[in-house]
Symmetry: C2
Amino acid sequence: MKKTTTTKETDISTEEKIRNAARKVFHSKGFAATRTRDIAEEAGMNLALLNYYFRSKEKLFALVMQETMQTFIQSIKVIFNDESLSLEAKVELLAGNYIEFLGANPDLPIFMLSEMRRDPSVLAGKLGLKEIVLHSHFMQQFQQGIKAEQIRPMHPFHLVMNIVGLTVFPFIAAPMLKTVGDLPDAAFTELMQERKALIPLWVKAILKA
Amino acid sequence: MKKTTTTKETDISTEEKIRNAARKVFHSKGFAATRTRDIAEEAGMNLALLNYYFRSKEKLFALVMQETMQTFIQSIKVIFNDESLSLEAKVELLAGNYIEFLGANPDLPIFMLSEMRRDPSVLAGKLGLKEIVLHSHFMQQFQQGIKAEQIRPMHPFHLVMNIVGLTVFPFIAAPMLKTVGDLPDAAFTELMQERKALIPLWVKAILKA
DNA sequence: AATTTGTTTAATCAAATGATTAAATATTTT
DNA sequence: AAAATATTTAATCATTTGATTAAACAAATT
Protein backbone atom coordinates (compact mmCIF):
# COMPACT_ATOMS: atom_id res chain seq x y z
CA MET A 1 0.00 0.00 0.00
CA LYS A 2 1.03 3.54 -0.60
CA LYS A 3 -1.43 5.87 0.99
CA THR A 4 -1.69 5.01 4.65
CA THR A 5 1.95 5.01 5.58
CA THR A 6 3.55 7.80 3.63
CA THR A 7 5.61 10.14 5.78
CA LYS A 8 3.05 12.91 5.59
CA GLU A 9 -0.55 11.98 6.17
CA THR A 10 -1.67 15.18 4.48
CA ASP A 11 -2.10 13.52 1.09
CA ILE A 12 -5.48 12.18 0.17
CA SER A 13 -5.76 8.57 -0.89
CA THR A 14 -6.27 7.83 -4.55
CA GLU A 15 -9.57 6.23 -3.73
CA GLU A 16 -10.77 9.40 -2.06
CA LYS A 17 -9.53 11.57 -4.90
CA ILE A 18 -11.65 9.50 -7.24
CA ARG A 19 -14.69 9.68 -4.98
CA ASN A 20 -14.36 13.45 -4.76
CA ALA A 21 -13.93 13.84 -8.48
CA ALA A 22 -16.85 11.50 -9.15
CA ARG A 23 -19.08 13.43 -6.78
CA LYS A 24 -18.20 16.69 -8.45
CA VAL A 25 -18.75 15.49 -12.01
CA PHE A 26 -21.84 13.41 -11.31
CA HIS A 27 -23.43 16.27 -9.41
CA SER A 28 -22.80 18.72 -12.17
CA LYS A 29 -23.64 16.60 -15.23
CA GLY A 30 -25.75 13.73 -13.97
CA PHE A 31 -25.17 10.04 -14.59
CA ALA A 32 -25.87 9.78 -18.29
CA ALA A 33 -23.85 12.80 -19.39
CA THR A 34 -20.84 11.85 -17.27
CA ARG A 35 -18.09 9.86 -18.94
CA THR A 36 -15.74 7.84 -16.81
CA ARG A 37 -12.93 9.70 -18.56
CA ASP A 38 -14.33 12.98 -17.22
CA ILE A 39 -13.98 11.66 -13.72
CA ALA A 40 -10.48 10.32 -14.30
CA GLU A 41 -9.39 13.66 -15.70
CA GLU A 42 -11.00 15.60 -12.86
CA ALA A 43 -9.19 13.34 -10.40
CA GLY A 44 -5.96 13.75 -12.39
CA MET A 45 -5.37 10.07 -12.93
CA ASN A 46 -5.57 7.07 -15.16
CA LEU A 47 -8.94 5.81 -16.30
CA ALA A 48 -8.15 2.24 -15.30
CA LEU A 49 -7.93 3.29 -11.67
CA LEU A 50 -11.64 3.97 -11.55
CA ASN A 51 -12.31 0.37 -12.39
CA TYR A 52 -9.56 -0.84 -10.13
CA TYR A 53 -10.98 0.88 -7.05
CA PHE A 54 -14.65 0.79 -7.93
CA ARG A 55 -15.85 -1.97 -10.11
CA SER A 56 -17.82 0.09 -12.62
CA LYS A 57 -19.36 3.47 -13.42
CA GLU A 58 -22.65 2.23 -11.94
CA LYS A 59 -21.03 1.14 -8.69
CA LEU A 60 -19.18 4.41 -8.33
CA PHE A 61 -22.35 6.31 -9.01
CA ALA A 62 -24.34 4.29 -6.52
CA LEU A 63 -21.73 5.12 -3.90
CA VAL A 64 -21.83 8.83 -4.61
CA MET A 65 -25.60 8.79 -4.60
CA GLN A 66 -25.77 6.94 -1.34
CA GLU A 67 -23.37 9.41 0.27
CA THR A 68 -25.34 12.35 -1.07
CA MET A 69 -28.67 11.04 0.16
CA GLN A 70 -27.14 10.27 3.53
CA THR A 71 -25.93 13.84 4.01
CA PHE A 72 -29.24 15.22 2.90
CA ILE A 73 -31.39 13.04 5.11
CA GLN A 74 -29.20 13.44 8.16
CA SER A 75 -29.39 17.21 8.08
CA ILE A 76 -33.18 17.08 7.90
CA LYS A 77 -33.47 14.59 10.71
CA VAL A 78 -31.48 16.70 13.12
CA ILE A 79 -33.43 19.90 12.72
CA PHE A 80 -36.84 18.25 12.54
CA ASN A 81 -36.26 16.64 15.90
CA ASP A 82 -34.57 19.31 17.96
CA GLU A 83 -37.00 19.49 20.85
CA SER A 84 -35.58 22.72 22.15
CA LEU A 85 -36.85 24.66 19.16
CA SER A 86 -40.26 26.13 18.49
CA LEU A 87 -41.90 25.40 15.16
CA GLU A 88 -41.02 28.88 13.97
CA ALA A 89 -37.42 28.48 15.05
CA LYS A 90 -37.16 25.18 13.18
CA VAL A 91 -38.40 26.79 9.99
CA GLU A 92 -35.86 29.56 10.46
CA LEU A 93 -33.05 27.08 10.93
CA LEU A 94 -34.16 24.93 8.01
CA ALA A 95 -34.39 27.85 5.62
CA GLY A 96 -31.15 29.40 6.85
CA ASN A 97 -29.12 26.21 6.85
CA TYR A 98 -30.39 24.98 3.52
CA ILE A 99 -29.92 28.27 1.75
CA GLU A 100 -26.38 28.39 3.09
CA PHE A 101 -25.73 24.80 2.07
CA LEU A 102 -27.27 25.15 -1.39
CA GLY A 103 -25.27 28.30 -1.98
CA ALA A 104 -22.19 26.10 -1.70
CA ASN A 105 -23.74 23.14 -3.55
CA PRO A 106 -26.10 24.64 -6.09
CA ASP A 107 -26.06 21.55 -8.30
CA LEU A 108 -27.43 19.26 -5.67
CA PRO A 109 -31.19 19.74 -6.05
CA ILE A 110 -31.42 19.10 -9.77
CA PHE A 111 -28.97 16.26 -9.44
CA MET A 112 -30.94 14.51 -6.73
CA LEU A 113 -34.33 15.14 -8.22
CA SER A 114 -33.47 14.12 -11.75
CA GLU A 115 -31.51 11.03 -10.75
CA MET A 116 -34.38 10.02 -8.50
CA ARG A 117 -36.69 10.22 -11.43
CA ARG A 118 -34.30 8.15 -13.55
CA ASP A 119 -34.14 5.45 -10.95
CA PRO A 120 -36.32 5.77 -7.85
CA SER A 121 -34.60 2.74 -6.35
CA VAL A 122 -31.92 5.03 -4.94
CA LEU A 123 -34.52 5.69 -2.34
CA ALA A 124 -35.13 2.08 -1.53
CA GLY A 125 -34.39 1.52 2.11
CA LYS A 126 -34.93 5.20 2.77
CA LEU A 127 -38.59 4.57 3.43
CA GLY A 128 -37.76 5.39 7.02
CA LEU A 129 -37.64 9.00 5.93
CA LYS A 130 -41.41 9.12 5.88
CA GLU A 131 -41.57 8.19 9.54
CA ILE A 132 -38.69 10.48 10.38
CA VAL A 133 -40.52 13.40 8.87
CA LEU A 134 -44.11 12.57 9.74
CA HIS A 135 -43.41 11.54 13.32
CA SER A 136 -40.84 14.20 13.96
CA HIS A 137 -41.04 16.71 16.74
CA PHE A 138 -41.72 19.27 14.04
CA MET A 139 -44.86 17.43 12.94
CA GLN A 140 -46.03 17.04 16.52
CA GLN A 141 -45.79 20.77 16.92
CA PHE A 142 -47.67 21.22 13.67
CA GLN A 143 -50.51 18.89 14.68
CA GLN A 144 -50.63 20.52 18.09
CA GLY A 145 -50.97 23.93 16.47
CA ILE A 146 -53.91 22.66 14.44
CA LYS A 147 -55.64 21.28 17.52
CA ALA A 148 -55.09 24.56 19.32
CA GLU A 149 -56.60 26.26 16.29
CA GLN A 150 -53.53 28.40 15.82
CA ILE A 151 -52.82 26.71 12.50
CA ARG A 152 -55.18 26.17 9.62
CA PRO A 153 -55.67 22.42 9.09
CA MET A 154 -53.88 21.03 6.04
CA HIS A 155 -52.21 17.85 4.89
CA PRO A 156 -48.68 17.75 6.37
CA PHE A 157 -47.24 17.16 2.90
CA HIS A 158 -48.51 20.58 1.87
CA LEU A 159 -46.45 22.16 4.61
CA VAL A 160 -43.35 20.15 3.72
CA MET A 161 -43.71 20.91 0.02
CA ASN A 162 -44.15 24.59 0.77
CA ILE A 163 -41.11 24.92 3.00
CA VAL A 164 -38.88 22.87 0.75
CA GLY A 165 -40.29 24.44 -2.41
CA LEU A 166 -39.81 28.00 -1.21
CA THR A 167 -36.26 27.18 -0.14
CA VAL A 168 -35.01 24.89 -2.86
CA PHE A 169 -36.88 25.94 -5.96
CA PRO A 170 -34.99 29.20 -6.52
CA PHE A 171 -31.75 27.23 -6.75
CA ILE A 172 -33.27 24.90 -9.30
CA ALA A 173 -34.55 27.83 -11.29
CA ALA A 174 -31.36 29.83 -10.92
CA PRO A 175 -30.07 29.22 -14.47
CA MET A 176 -33.32 30.57 -15.81
CA LEU A 177 -33.44 33.55 -13.50
CA LYS A 178 -29.86 34.43 -14.26
CA THR A 179 -30.24 34.13 -18.02
CA VAL A 180 -33.80 35.11 -18.73
CA GLY A 181 -34.17 37.43 -15.77
CA ASP A 182 -30.78 38.86 -16.54
CA LEU A 183 -29.85 38.53 -12.87
CA PRO A 184 -26.14 38.67 -11.99
CA ASP A 185 -24.74 36.07 -9.59
CA ALA A 186 -24.27 38.61 -6.82
CA ALA A 187 -27.85 39.81 -7.06
CA PHE A 188 -29.10 36.24 -6.96
CA THR A 189 -27.05 35.51 -3.86
CA GLU A 190 -28.43 38.60 -2.20
CA LEU A 191 -32.00 37.57 -2.94
CA MET A 192 -31.27 34.21 -1.39
CA GLN A 193 -29.90 35.87 1.73
CA GLU A 194 -33.09 37.89 2.00
CA ARG A 195 -35.09 34.70 1.78
CA LYS A 196 -33.45 33.33 4.92
CA ALA A 197 -35.50 35.84 6.86
CA LEU A 198 -38.50 35.99 4.53
CA ILE A 199 -39.34 32.31 4.24
CA PRO A 200 -40.06 31.92 7.97
CA LEU A 201 -42.41 34.89 7.79
CA TRP A 202 -44.12 33.50 4.72
CA VAL A 203 -44.49 30.05 6.22
CA LYS A 204 -46.00 31.54 9.33
CA ALA A 205 -48.47 33.46 7.15
CA ILE A 206 -49.28 30.30 5.21
CA LEU A 207 -49.95 28.35 8.36
CA LYS A 208 -52.53 30.88 9.40
CA ALA A 209 -53.99 31.64 5.97
CA MET B 1 -44.55 12.44 -51.56
CA LYS B 2 -46.70 10.06 -49.61
CA LYS B 3 -48.24 11.83 -46.71
CA THR B 4 -50.05 14.88 -48.01
CA THR B 5 -52.09 13.24 -50.69
CA THR B 6 -53.19 9.92 -49.28
CA THR B 7 -56.94 9.37 -49.48
CA LYS B 8 -57.48 9.86 -45.75
CA GLU B 9 -55.88 12.85 -44.12
CA THR B 10 -56.17 11.24 -40.70
CA ASP B 11 -52.66 9.79 -40.78
CA ILE B 12 -49.85 11.78 -39.28
CA SER B 13 -46.82 12.53 -41.39
CA THR B 14 -43.65 10.62 -40.67
CA GLU B 15 -41.94 13.82 -39.74
CA GLU B 16 -44.56 14.57 -37.14
CA LYS B 17 -44.45 11.05 -35.77
CA ILE B 18 -40.74 11.52 -35.20
CA ARG B 19 -41.21 14.92 -33.60
CA ASN B 20 -43.82 13.50 -31.25
CA ALA B 21 -41.69 10.53 -30.34
CA ALA B 22 -38.66 12.74 -29.85
CA ARG B 23 -40.57 15.07 -27.58
CA LYS B 24 -41.82 12.18 -25.50
CA VAL B 25 -38.44 10.50 -25.10
CA PHE B 26 -36.41 13.69 -24.62
CA HIS B 27 -38.86 14.96 -22.04
CA SER B 28 -38.73 11.77 -20.07
CA LYS B 29 -35.01 10.96 -20.23
CA GLY B 30 -33.27 14.20 -21.11
CA PHE B 31 -30.79 14.76 -23.91
CA ALA B 32 -27.83 12.74 -22.71
CA ALA B 33 -29.74 9.62 -21.71
CA THR B 34 -31.77 9.54 -24.92
CA ARG B 35 -30.47 7.40 -27.77
CA THR B 36 -31.60 8.12 -31.27
CA ARG B 37 -32.63 4.48 -31.45
CA ASP B 38 -35.04 5.05 -28.55
CA ILE B 39 -36.77 7.73 -30.55
CA ALA B 40 -36.91 5.63 -33.70
CA GLU B 41 -38.43 2.76 -31.77
CA GLU B 42 -40.94 5.01 -30.02
CA ALA B 43 -41.93 6.38 -33.43
CA GLY B 44 -42.06 2.84 -34.82
CA MET B 45 -39.67 3.45 -37.66
CA ASN B 46 -36.21 3.15 -39.08
CA LEU B 47 -33.35 4.94 -37.40
CA ALA B 48 -32.13 6.44 -40.66
CA LEU B 49 -35.33 8.42 -40.96
CA LEU B 50 -34.39 10.57 -38.01
CA ASN B 51 -31.32 11.72 -39.84
CA TYR B 52 -33.19 12.02 -43.10
CA TYR B 53 -35.80 14.39 -41.69
CA PHE B 54 -33.72 16.10 -39.06
CA ARG B 55 -30.06 16.37 -39.62
CA SER B 56 -28.84 15.11 -36.26
CA LYS B 57 -29.78 14.32 -32.69
CA GLU B 58 -28.74 17.84 -31.71
CA LYS B 59 -30.93 19.46 -34.36
CA LEU B 60 -33.92 17.35 -33.42
CA PHE B 61 -33.39 18.18 -29.78
CA ALA B 62 -33.06 21.88 -30.47
CA LEU B 63 -36.38 21.76 -32.29
CA VAL B 64 -38.15 19.97 -29.46
CA MET B 65 -36.64 22.36 -26.96
CA GLN B 66 -37.66 25.40 -28.94
CA GLU B 67 -41.22 24.10 -29.23
CA THR B 68 -41.35 23.35 -25.52
CA MET B 69 -40.07 26.77 -24.50
CA GLN B 70 -42.49 28.40 -26.90
CA THR B 71 -45.51 26.70 -25.33
CA PHE B 72 -44.29 27.49 -21.86
CA ILE B 73 -43.60 31.15 -22.48
CA GLN B 74 -46.78 31.76 -24.42
CA SER B 75 -48.99 30.45 -21.63
CA ILE B 76 -47.28 32.73 -19.12
CA LYS B 77 -47.54 35.76 -21.32
CA VAL B 78 -51.27 35.43 -21.82
CA ILE B 79 -52.22 35.18 -18.18
CA PHE B 80 -49.74 37.79 -16.97
CA ASN B 81 -51.25 40.34 -19.30
CA ASP B 82 -54.96 39.73 -19.12
CA GLU B 83 -56.08 43.19 -18.05
CA SER B 84 -59.54 42.02 -17.10
CA LEU B 85 -58.22 40.01 -14.16
CA SER B 86 -57.37 41.14 -10.65
CA LEU B 87 -54.03 40.11 -9.22
CA GLU B 88 -55.72 37.46 -7.14
CA ALA B 89 -57.61 36.13 -10.13
CA LYS B 90 -54.37 35.90 -12.11
CA VAL B 91 -52.73 33.84 -9.38
CA GLU B 92 -55.76 31.59 -9.31
CA LEU B 93 -55.62 31.08 -13.05
CA LEU B 94 -51.86 30.54 -13.05
CA ALA B 95 -51.98 27.95 -10.30
CA GLY B 96 -55.04 26.24 -11.73
CA ASN B 97 -53.84 26.13 -15.31
CA TYR B 98 -50.32 25.06 -14.46
CA ILE B 99 -51.36 22.34 -12.09
CA GLU B 100 -53.72 21.03 -14.73
CA PHE B 101 -51.04 21.24 -17.41
CA LEU B 102 -48.33 19.67 -15.28
CA GLY B 103 -50.64 16.86 -14.30
CA ALA B 104 -50.66 15.94 -17.98
CA ASN B 105 -46.96 16.71 -18.53
CA PRO B 106 -45.25 15.89 -15.27
CA ASP B 107 -41.84 15.47 -16.89
CA LEU B 108 -41.68 18.98 -18.18
CA PRO B 109 -40.25 20.89 -15.22
CA ILE B 110 -37.23 18.70 -14.59
CA PHE B 111 -36.65 18.43 -18.30
CA MET B 112 -36.64 22.17 -18.84
CA LEU B 113 -34.69 23.03 -15.75
CA SER B 114 -31.99 20.43 -16.18
CA GLU B 115 -31.52 21.03 -19.87
CA MET B 116 -31.31 24.74 -19.19
CA ARG B 117 -28.51 24.09 -16.77
CA ARG B 118 -26.74 21.88 -19.30
CA ASP B 119 -26.89 24.57 -21.94
CA PRO B 120 -28.34 27.95 -20.99
CA SER B 121 -28.13 29.01 -24.63
CA VAL B 122 -31.58 27.48 -25.18
CA LEU B 123 -32.73 30.66 -23.60
CA ALA B 124 -30.80 32.91 -25.91
CA GLY B 125 -33.21 35.17 -27.67
CA LYS B 126 -35.73 34.64 -24.91
CA LEU B 127 -34.35 37.59 -23.04
CA GLY B 128 -37.63 39.28 -23.88
CA LEU B 129 -39.17 37.12 -21.21
CA LYS B 130 -37.76 39.38 -18.56
CA GLU B 131 -39.61 42.35 -19.97
CA ILE B 132 -42.73 40.31 -20.57
CA VAL B 133 -42.81 39.32 -16.94
CA LEU B 134 -41.48 42.44 -15.29
CA HIS B 135 -43.54 44.87 -17.34
CA SER B 136 -46.65 42.74 -17.39
CA HIS B 137 -50.02 43.88 -16.21
CA PHE B 138 -49.52 41.50 -13.31
CA MET B 139 -46.40 43.37 -12.19
CA GLN B 140 -48.13 46.71 -12.53
CA GLN B 141 -50.83 45.47 -10.22
CA PHE B 142 -48.18 44.22 -7.83
CA GLN B 143 -46.31 47.54 -7.75
CA GLN B 144 -49.60 49.39 -7.38
CA GLY B 145 -50.47 47.22 -4.40
CA ILE B 146 -47.16 48.11 -2.78
CA LYS B 147 -47.73 51.83 -3.30
CA ALA B 148 -51.21 51.52 -1.86
CA GLU B 149 -49.61 49.72 1.10
CA GLN B 150 -51.81 46.70 0.60
CA ILE B 151 -48.78 44.60 -0.26
CA ARG B 152 -45.57 44.26 1.70
CA PRO B 153 -42.70 45.60 -0.44
CA MET B 154 -40.45 42.88 -1.87
CA HIS B 155 -38.35 42.21 -4.92
CA PRO B 156 -40.66 41.08 -7.75
CA PHE B 157 -38.50 37.99 -8.29
CA HIS B 158 -39.44 36.80 -4.81
CA LEU B 159 -43.07 36.84 -5.79
CA VAL B 160 -42.42 35.05 -9.06
CA MET B 161 -40.24 32.42 -7.39
CA ASN B 162 -42.88 31.85 -4.74
CA ILE B 163 -45.78 31.40 -7.12
CA VAL B 164 -43.83 29.21 -9.49
CA GLY B 165 -42.12 27.33 -6.68
CA LEU B 166 -45.34 26.55 -4.84
CA THR B 167 -46.94 25.38 -8.07
CA VAL B 168 -44.14 23.56 -9.85
CA PHE B 169 -41.96 22.19 -7.09
CA PRO B 170 -44.35 19.44 -5.99
CA PHE B 171 -44.23 17.99 -9.50
CA ILE B 172 -40.46 18.02 -9.45
CA ALA B 173 -40.42 16.37 -6.06
CA ALA B 174 -43.16 13.90 -6.93
CA PRO B 175 -40.87 10.86 -7.39
CA MET B 176 -39.52 11.48 -3.91
CA LEU B 177 -42.89 12.05 -2.33
CA LYS B 178 -44.33 8.97 -3.96
CA THR B 179 -41.44 6.71 -3.01
CA VAL B 180 -40.17 8.08 0.28
CA GLY B 181 -43.47 9.52 1.40
CA ASP B 182 -45.18 6.33 0.27
CA LEU B 183 -47.82 8.41 -1.46
CA PRO B 184 -49.97 6.67 -4.11
CA ASP B 185 -50.51 8.40 -7.45
CA ALA B 186 -54.14 9.10 -6.70
CA ALA B 187 -53.34 10.73 -3.37
CA PHE B 188 -50.70 12.88 -5.01
CA THR B 189 -53.15 14.01 -7.66
CA GLU B 190 -55.68 14.89 -4.99
CA LEU B 191 -53.13 16.98 -3.11
CA MET B 192 -52.39 18.84 -6.33
CA GLN B 193 -56.07 19.51 -6.85
CA GLU B 194 -56.27 20.96 -3.36
CA ARG B 195 -53.35 23.23 -4.16
CA LYS B 196 -55.28 24.86 -6.99
CA ALA B 197 -57.36 26.56 -4.32
CA LEU B 198 -54.72 26.76 -1.61
CA ILE B 199 -51.89 28.43 -3.51
CA PRO B 200 -53.91 31.60 -4.22
CA LEU B 201 -54.74 31.84 -0.52
CA TRP B 202 -51.12 31.30 0.44
CA VAL B 203 -49.84 33.83 -2.06
CA LYS B 204 -52.30 36.38 -0.76
CA ALA B 205 -51.06 35.71 2.76
CA ILE B 206 -47.45 36.02 1.63
CA LEU B 207 -48.12 39.35 -0.03
CA LYS B 208 -49.42 40.76 3.22
CA ALA B 209 -46.98 39.03 5.56
C1' DA C 1 -46.02 4.24 -69.48
C1' DA C 2 -41.66 6.34 -68.60
C1' DT C 3 -39.17 9.44 -65.89
C1' DT C 4 -38.26 12.06 -62.10
C1' DT C 5 -38.57 13.02 -57.42
C1' DG C 6 -39.37 11.80 -52.78
C1' DT C 7 -39.35 8.20 -48.98
C1' DT C 8 -37.87 4.09 -46.59
C1' DT C 9 -34.94 0.15 -45.51
C1' DA C 10 -30.91 -2.73 -44.42
C1' DA C 11 -26.23 -2.69 -43.97
C1' DT C 12 -22.29 -0.47 -42.55
C1' DC C 13 -19.04 3.12 -40.63
C1' DA C 14 -16.50 5.75 -37.40
C1' DA C 15 -16.12 7.67 -33.06
C1' DA C 16 -17.04 7.47 -28.26
C1' DT C 17 -17.08 5.00 -24.20
C1' DG C 18 -17.00 1.51 -20.37
C1' DA C 19 -14.03 -2.00 -19.22
C1' DT C 20 -9.96 -5.21 -19.16
C1' DT C 21 -5.24 -6.89 -19.38
C1' DA C 22 -0.47 -7.44 -18.97
C1' DA C 23 3.42 -5.26 -17.74
C1' DA C 24 5.83 -1.70 -14.86
C1' DT C 25 6.44 0.49 -10.54
C1' DA C 26 6.04 1.13 -5.70
C1' DT C 27 5.23 -0.52 -1.00
C1' DT C 28 5.02 -3.86 2.63
C1' DT C 29 6.32 -8.11 4.68
C1' DT C 30 9.52 -11.71 5.47
C1' DA D 1 17.67 -7.66 0.51
C1' DA D 2 14.27 -10.84 -1.34
C1' DA D 3 9.68 -12.06 -1.88
C1' DA D 4 5.07 -10.92 -1.80
C1' DT D 5 1.56 -7.74 -2.32
C1' DA D 6 -0.52 -3.53 -3.78
C1' DT D 7 -0.85 0.31 -7.04
C1' DT D 8 -0.38 2.49 -11.48
C1' DT D 9 0.21 2.83 -16.44
C1' DA D 10 -0.30 2.17 -21.44
C1' DA D 11 -2.39 -0.40 -24.74
C1' DT D 12 -6.29 -2.72 -26.29
C1' DC D 13 -11.22 -4.70 -26.43
C1' DA D 14 -15.98 -4.89 -27.12
C1' DT D 15 -20.11 -2.50 -27.19
C1' DT D 16 -22.87 1.30 -27.88
C1' DT D 17 -24.29 4.98 -30.51
C1' DG D 18 -24.77 8.82 -33.89
C1' DA D 19 -24.54 9.02 -38.64
C1' DT D 20 -24.14 7.63 -43.65
C1' DT D 21 -24.77 5.10 -47.88
C1' DA D 22 -26.54 2.58 -51.58
C1' DA D 23 -30.26 0.35 -53.04
C1' DA D 24 -35.37 -0.62 -52.89
C1' DC D 25 -39.77 1.27 -53.02
C1' DA D 26 -43.57 4.69 -53.70
C1' DA D 27 -45.63 8.73 -55.54
C1' DA D 28 -45.85 12.54 -58.63
C1' DT D 29 -44.91 14.52 -63.15
C1' DT D 30 -44.23 14.28 -67.94
